[in-house]
Symmetry: C2
Subunit: 206 residues, 2 copies
């Protein structure tokens, strides 16, 4: 089965839309998805940004929120602009890594996104993450202990370094087995078509 | 007939792809297109940028050229990364305004894009624009004289100011009669669906 890696930051607005639809569109395309949580913050910092481009550029930010509102309307998923934005997603990402090992990472990620962009809650707050974990029937405190080991923290740093090495500079990004990067929720279909061998695979000169 | 405005900068790489395909996809959608040349440079300057984001951010630039290469491959249109990039598009935009008045603006714009992104020529050079105009059977020097009147120069400034007032911060952008902005070649289909009344028109809270 062809596969793609779905790189997402739990603070990323367009990743929310992608996360809510990727399972069904990938299944239709016959492509297997590996969920790869990472942090955009360190990559933005390397560009000299200390905030989201949606905050740094007013016109782009206004556009992006309206655009996401339209997209969520089309997908029939809830949307509320969260406060604060972006949220501190480091703990949520560490939890997601544990969850992907244990088989509940996809559902955790979707519920975290829904809390943030559907209900307007702050996933930077421990209580919100505890609620999400509890809703999955997990022992929240035990999961937190696994998420906050030095090893798991280092693992998230390594994942983020891998994203950067792949050329990723935004989220969501989709990466095929042959290393093609597709950036943005709106590129999911092209990434799947490429992975499934249904797109013309134009050779790269870059 | 439903309509959209197609805002494009003749130096914009993704606008090239949009320009080469918009006539056929808009016709299929039953939507009329008004071509609106403008300049991104003044809008970028207001953001504190003195260059294209594709030059200012190395990872985004590498991605964008490869992405455009894939897109052009899929559309079966030629692609060469132009030098310099971005090119000075002010004169070409002034000519396009004259051309849209006189009925040859669409063909001029497409041929200018092909010279730039297909053949790797520099549309900032007068000789290249003269060649494009001549290829259309026009009296190049007479057209240049119309393009370079104070009135036409002012008109381009007013068009750019209108783009900025609409919230446009990148090209291509598509704007519907009810003021919805869609940014990027990859949003053309959504813009057309919205204009044609085939998209769910989620009300705006922004």
């Amino acid at each position: 089965l062809a596969g793609i890696d779905f790189w997402y930051d739990l603070a990323s607005s367009y990743s929310y839309a992608a996360a809510m639809r990727i399972e069904s569109v990938a299944a239709s395309a016959g492509v297997k998805v590996r969920w790869r949580p990472f942090l955009l913050g360190p990559i933005f910092k390397a560009l000299g940004w200390n905030d989201s481009p949606f905050n740094l550029q007013a016109a782009k930010g206004r556009y992006a929120w309206r655009d996401l509102e339209r997209i969520c309307g089309g997908l029939d998923i809830p949307f509320r602009r969260p406060t604060p934005f972006p949220q501190r997603s480091v703990t949520a990402a560490r939890l997601a890594l544990v969850g992907h090992d244990e088989g509940w990472g996809v559902e955790f990620s979707k519920r975290a996104y829904l809390a943030e962009f559907g209900d307007g809650r702050d996933i930077g707050e421990r209580v919100v993450l505890l609620d999400v974990l509890s809703s999955l029937g997990l022992d929240s405190e035990a999961v937190f202990a696994k998420a906050e080991t030095a090893e798991n923290k280092q693992r998230l740093r390594a994942e983020t370094a891998e994203a950067e090495a792949l050329g990723i500079f935004g989220a969501p990004s989709f990466v095929t087995a042959d290393g093609e990067v597709f950036w943005g929720n709106d590129r999911l279909e092209q990434a799947l078509a490429w992975a499934a061998g249904r797109a013309e695979r134009t050779p790269s000169t870059f």
